[in-house]
Amino acid sequence: MPDFSFPGLTPLILSIKLAGVTTLLLIILATPLAWWLSQTKNSLKPLFEAIVALPLVLPPTVIGFYMLILLGPEGFIGRSWIGMGGDSLTFSFSGLVIASMIYSLPFVVQPIQNAFEGLGRNALETAWTLGARPLEAFFSVVLPLSTKGYLTALVLGFAHTLGEFGIVLMVGGNIPGKTRVISIAIYDHVEMLEYGDAHALSAGLLIFSLILLLSVYLINHRWRIRT
């Protein structure tokens, strides 16, 4: 294997892959959850909202610790996963995705929920009276009118997962090419006083994040002008 003197490339790609998969799955999962939270009159709503918000306040090590136990071969999720024919979840990419989804849940659910609540029921009811079935009304009216919330959820979920450290270390360990994401690679380099490599990786992540955010805000800005 030729050495491309880009030692950080593999961790960077892994980080982007992890953040991408996590955000994508979260958006799909968060949509019904956010919708339910925005519409329910259940008196337990504050409890569910508090649970969704928990990862905001808990130290990543606490989440990581519980995830390690749950995802382990003896844990509830890990055992079911292996029972369904999967490999061990701890110290694997799949395990990282599951843990990241918990970690980034509020960052994706809350903006979408806010968008739904801000929209109210008027647009939905109007669509119904025009003959749209409930699900059809949701996809043709509620979703397009909530794009800003989704964009925010996308950016926050992606960025937050990209920057995670504690949970990855607890659940994924530090296996090159498998669970060694960029934040851990940077930490390693600093530990070993390889400041040059740490600089390269950090600057790479910084520039990548800036480009990502910039393009999102540009798109958002153009939307606002158009609509």
């Binding site: 008027n122 647009a123 009811e125 109007t126 119904w128 009276t129 025009l130 059809e136 009118l145 609509t227």
Partner: protein, 347 residues
């Protein structure tokens, strides 16, 4: 087309709706009542947006609700036009118009796009985005959108309430010819007396959740003084709370209100407004307003309804015969009003 029969019983804490009335199969029917009469609840029940405990809704021979039937809103052939227009801002005018049309079964599409565009003069607006439309244009698009579902009943909930005087005048002629042009019965809901008088052939009067009178316009109109006697029309005026206890109208006039009122909507009952030729010499109160008399409708020998434009909004005042005999009560005259009692809506 067959006439409709509607019976709805719906209760929620503090309010009881119990209404039963037939609707003619054609022409314009008016559902008239003061704010708080239950008009909106009745509309929501008709549209299937609320599920009343007991109801029998038969529209043109189709049962929308009975003891063992409840059609969801999208299954009811009802065209609904809201007071606040509610166009879809992410779609162009054309796509707004087609939203309901595309979701109507091809065999039910009796109204053609071309005819709606012609009648409501919508062609020039097709490629615009809803937020670029004026209030009147937006409401015309909303009416067209509802029409294009070829509904069995077209229901309009105070469609002119949020529009300015000029836009109201622009839209009224369209409304008048709608039922004739398309053969669809129109149920027009309003608390505005003049709108009703100029539009409705048939009237249903609702107050506090009960039907007080119903029948052809002429029959109900003779009972109207009696009805209005029991509930002089409520005027709803819009402004802003410039400071606690100060309700500011768009022309800068201020009404002193209880500090607890925080809603930009004020309800002034027609009976709580007195007209004055000139302000009392030592009068210093804030409740004195200036407006212009727009028209005077005689209900019967003893009662007249005076429509006054206050900061561009219509309010109605009930006057006895002696009041109208005053030379200073005439159309076009500027007039002072004293507000004796205020019912604001506390949010």
């Amino acid at each position: 087309m067959t006439a409709s029969d509607i019976t709805i019983e719906f209760s929620y804490p503090g309010f009881d709706l119990e209404a039963s009335f037939p609707l003619p199969a054609k022409g314009i029917s008016g559902l008239f009542g003061p704010s708080g009469a239950g008009k909106t609840t009745l509309i929501r029940c008709l549209a299937g947006l609320e599920r009343p405990a007991r109801a029998h809704i038969n529209v043109g021979g189709r049962i929308w609700q009975s003891d063992d039937i409840f059609l969801a809103p999208h299954e009811r052939r009802l065209g609904l036009v809201f007071q606040d227009v509610r166009l879809f801002n992410h779609l162009s005018v054309r796509k707004n118009l087609l939203y309901g049309y595309d979701r109507t079964a091809p065999e039910d599409r009796k109204i053609r796009m071309e005819d709606v565009l012609n009648m409501l003069d919508l062609a020039p607006l097709l490629d615009k985005r809803p937020e670029k439309l004026s209030g009147g244009e937006g409401q015309r698009v909303a009416i067209g959108r509802a029409l294009l579902t070829s509904p069995a009943l077209l229901l309009m909930d105070e469609p002119l309430a949020a529009l300015g005087e000029q836009h109201k005048k622009d839209i009224l002629p369209y409304l008048k010819k709608l039922p004739r042009e398309f053969g669809i019965p129109l149920l027009y809901v309003s608390h505005n007396f003049e709108e009703m008088a100029s539009l409705a052939d048939y009237m249903v009067c609702l107050n506090r959740g009960r039907i007080q009178a119903q029948g052809n316009w002429q029959d109900v109109a003779t009972q109207l003084p009696d009805i209005l006697d029991r509930w002089a029309p409520d005027n709803v005026i819009y402004g802003e709370i410039s400071a606690p206890g100060r309700f500011k109208l768009s022309d800068g006039q201020v009404i002193t209100i209880p500090a607890a009122v925080t809603s930009p909507r004020l309800v002034l009952n027609a009976r709580d407004i007195s007209l004055l030729h000139s302000p009392p010499g030592n009068y210093a109160g804030d409740a004195l307003l200036t407006g212009t008399i727009m028209d005077i409708t005689q209900l019967d020998r003893d009662k007249n309804i005076v429509r006054i434009s206050l900061a561009g909004q219509d309010i109605h005042v009930v006057l006895g015969p002696r009041g109208v005999d005053q030379p200073w009560i005439s159309v076009g005259q500027d007039i002072h009003m004293m507000i004796n009692r205020i019912r604001g809506e506390v949010e």
